[in-house]
Symmetry: C2
Subunit: 198 residues, 2 copies
Amino acid sequence: MSVADINYDSSMVRWQPNPRERLQEAALALYGERGFENTTVAEIAERAGLTERTFFRHYADKREVLFGGADAFTEALAGTVANAPASEAPIDAVTAGLEAAAALPQDREFSRRRQAIIAASPELQERELSKFASLSASLAGTLRERGLGEPAATLTAELAIAVFRVAFERWIEGSDDQDFRQLIRESLDQLRAVTAGA
Amino acid sequence: MSVADINYDSSMVRWQPNPRERLQEAALALYGERGFENTTVAEIAERAGLTERTFFRHYADKREVLFGGADAFTEALAGTVANAPASEAPIDAVTAGLEAAAALPQDREFSRRRQAIIAASPELQERELSKFASLSASLAGTLRERGLGEPAATLTAELAIAVFRVAFERWIEGSDDQDFRQLIRESLDQLRAVTAGA
């Protein structure tokens, strides 16, 4: 075995992201290059150097590559609200939930690319709206379980999702020193000022 | 000419709703019977006793039969906000806008049937979410023109749409003596209480 062989071997086994990440990276690159509608699962798998079968082990379809993070977000938000002390005002429980969701590891560069792809596709925009609507309905259910009546529960949930979306968009667009949690607090403060008639 | 002829003639020329209303009624009946997805424009026209050409003079497609009312609503809401005195707080301008929209003639029975049809179709639900998202974006623009900054403008618009949707759903489900404008006021009050930490 020569030194050249060793080098060759070590480059072949060099660290690579796991299949899920490789598929995501390949999908994002292709969606950006040719548009979401014009990209097939076969092309994503090929670009990632993996098989279609591997793709479907990780994602139900090509949309899920973009929306797979929603579950962790929902869990952080609704889980925190569900576990908040019963004595806590709904808005405080929701604020804690939003901050927990905001504290999840976020890749701003990935989020920026994802957002640009969604903005270019009416189908993906509708999907995103549906995701937020489900999330809002689920949060309203959690608030009702805490004893909040209707329509307050639905309104509080809608408000929470609006605050998150607005803060998230500002975070994506903003400079590197902007803290996502701080943006959520600012959005909540603005909402409070508006409803108080400022 | 006999009496029978006269009767026959008068029944043929009896008043009928205008074509737009007849098409709408035929569409709602068919969507309810066989589902939105399984109904064609040809079938709607046939049920209404009109031609497909007449259908397309009134509606761009079969979805628009259900969403055609949105323009009058947008105009009432955004128009009122745009024309509110500059000194009025954003939340008061929005409240006036929602009340103007709520004062539009509303057919509760039609709204109930429409809502049931939308609830049965994921495609229509996505369409409804898209309509509300456009409406919110347009209202945020109107608020910015009044001098409200971001993110307050977007948050206020989202809040207004949430209040309207919640009040509208309660109005559809409610008893005959519920006043839509009153429901909007109640929803706004609840939202104020929640953001104030009640």
